[in-house]
Subunit: 334 residues, 2 copies
DNA sequence: GAGAGAACTGCAAACGTTTGCACAGAGGAA
DNA sequence: TTCCTCTGTGCAAACGTTTGCAGTTCTCTC
């Protein structure tokens, strides 16, 4: 039903090629013809068929965005939405659309492979958790640009990536605590296995060393029980600490609750600062100080890096660390 | 570079049509030929080109999902992510992909129009806030199925929609408070303008009437100042209330904080229950009781309704209300 | 007033599929 | 034997674009 290039050609009395050339501005066409064609396009409500286009010129103007549903806990959510929104906005301004795919709902990366093999997307943005060796090879083989969100463990590959500056965030957190007259911060992480936790630990340790803090310590808080034990040790003095840096917000909430239950004052006796500016942080009592990151910018930059490859044929792998900043609230206001 | 149907045909020694028929199972083909073709497909690593396909058979196997970036506050986030994930999962099982578009980043619904006019998506899911008259007409004209997330104000159109059962949620909240021996619940909403707030009000009023509660009251809490004034009035007895139902979580947090600052005990003196199970609700003190909704199911059902139109050619408008449930925590444990 | 380029336009092939039509051969039924 | 129905396959057109090549007309330049 929809008008095609041929309908316009017929109506104006030119060949389809001429119409195509007017649409794409790909040759010099007399003003008169241009005018008529544009008018006919209006009248017939013409819109180019993107498939026919893709078929001949080989690119689809679609990028794929892999979302990690396995990780759909609420903490990746806030991060996620603004990033997605940013990616889509950037894509739109460049004339691209964004196809999302849920990695975990299919075995074996099949959904992502489908993007490459059948949908022929022009590029892919994917979270580091979804980056399998097989997938990387597939994308490299098919020469399809991709950007990884989150720093990969090994840097031995030609991979473009982007991440928040975890190490810097940890450094800033320690500096902040010291500036508030805390003397002995410890770091609480969920485990020590993910790269971002390693980076945070490293940043923490580095600043502690620099300031000659006696015993920098990193604790694994991967269960409620551990949190309970730890707060008891802090209370009894078995663990020397006057402040904690929590590698994520949920740990912070648990610790805060445990401390209050023990009658330990926050921020007077113990200061708390957490990673990720989870929106409710400011409604806690005391309001939680956090290491914040601009998730919109994160997505925006990821998209920019991708389009650097797609459009500007940039080929030397680049990476970017999005700066973090401290939002000081009551929980570190000794 | 990628292998085409012709390459396979050549390799096996049949015509492209035969290969196509084997792929689509659209005619009877001898077992022998089938076997050879399948083998050749493996060897050449063949994957059908979705564009060429779409070009001839008219459907794209892509659905559009409009996201409302204007509303990217954290409270729609949690809702959003799980819904999106659900929609994508359903789509994937039906062989469809999901194209997202950010409505607000373009003027005049242009981005969404683009989905219809150029991308030729087979269906669209969009939030009710993005549903303009113009868009509805466009989609109807082009006979492209769509599902609205959120109940539209007017029902005079042939529109498929889905929503959480706001009225029922409010009813359950009142019933819950009464069962906990609160006698006089009031409702706090941000405004009275959105349809979901109206529904919640209606459900609240209805149950109050049924239980002959003296003065059912709905307050607009659209600023911190109003929250402050209201809590003072509650404290002084100027407003008679022993419990509040908050139309969203942020109001709940503000009220809780204001009450505590006034030294009013929750849940002993005032009970609080809020809509939306925001993940941190359980970490507040006291842990917040909420009206919960299964956002995954919401997305899942939206997708199912859409595919009902796309694949089963269902044509009589349907709608669905996703049931809510009470999660009782400390804040209503008088 | 001839030759050269520039400006403008058309023809037809190509992109990778699907599908209506046709046809050959096989296997019965009459 | 003749006719009919199936099964299996190929031919060629079609989907809506883009684009290399070639052709025509026009405008200079000498």
């Amino acid at each position: 039903m929809a008008a095609t290039i041929k309908d316009i050609a017929k109506k104006v009395g030119v060949s389809p090629s001429t119409v195509s050339r007017v649409i794409n501005g790909t040759a010099s066409i007399s003003e008169e013809t241009k005018r008529k064609i544009h008018q006919a396009m209006k009248e017939l409500d013409y819109h180019p068929n993107s498939f026919a286009r893709s078929l001949v010129n080989g690119n689809t103007f679609i990028i794929g965005l892999v979302i990690d549903a396995g990780n759909s806990d609420s903490f990746s959510n806030a991060f996620f939405v603004r990033s997605v929104s940013a990616i889509e906005t950037v894509a739109q301004t460049k004339g691209y659309n964004v196809l999302i795919t849920n990695d975990s709902s299919s075995e074996n990366n099949n959904a992502v492979k489908n993007l490459v093999l059948e949908r022929k997307v022009d590029g892919i943005i994917l979270p580091v958790q979804c980056m399998t060796q097989e997938l990387v090879e597939l994308m490299l083989n098919h020469q399809i640009p991709f950007v990884v969100m989150g720093e990969p463990e090994q840097h031995n590959q030609k991979i473009f990536w982007i991440d928040m500056d975890n190490a810097e965030g940890a450094r800033l957190a320690v500096e902040h605590l010291l500036s508030q007259n805390y003397k002995c911060p410890i770091l609480l992480a969920e485990s020590q296995e993910t790269i971002f936790e390693k980076k945070r630990s490293a940043g923490y340790i580095e600043v502690c060393r620099r300031h000659q803090i006696a015993h920098p310590m990193v604790f694994a808080c991967d269960s409620d029980e551990k949190v309970r034990v730890l707060t008891e040790q802090i209370a009894s003095g078995a663990v020397q600490a006057d402040s904690v840096i929590c590698a994520n917000n949920i740990i912070a909430f648990k610790v805060l609750r445990a401390l209050k239950n023990k009658g330990i004052n926050v921020p007077e006796s113990i200061g708390i600062i957490a990673f990720d500016n989870y929106p409710l942080a400011e409604y806690l009592e005391p309001a939680l100080s956090v290491v914040d990151i601009d998730t919109y910018k994160l997505g925006e930059q990821a998209a920019n890096i991708l389009f650097g490859q797609i459009r500007d044929k940039q080929v030397t792998p680049s990476s970017a660390l999005i700066p973090t900043q401290i939002i000081a609230r009551e929980s570190t206001g000794k």
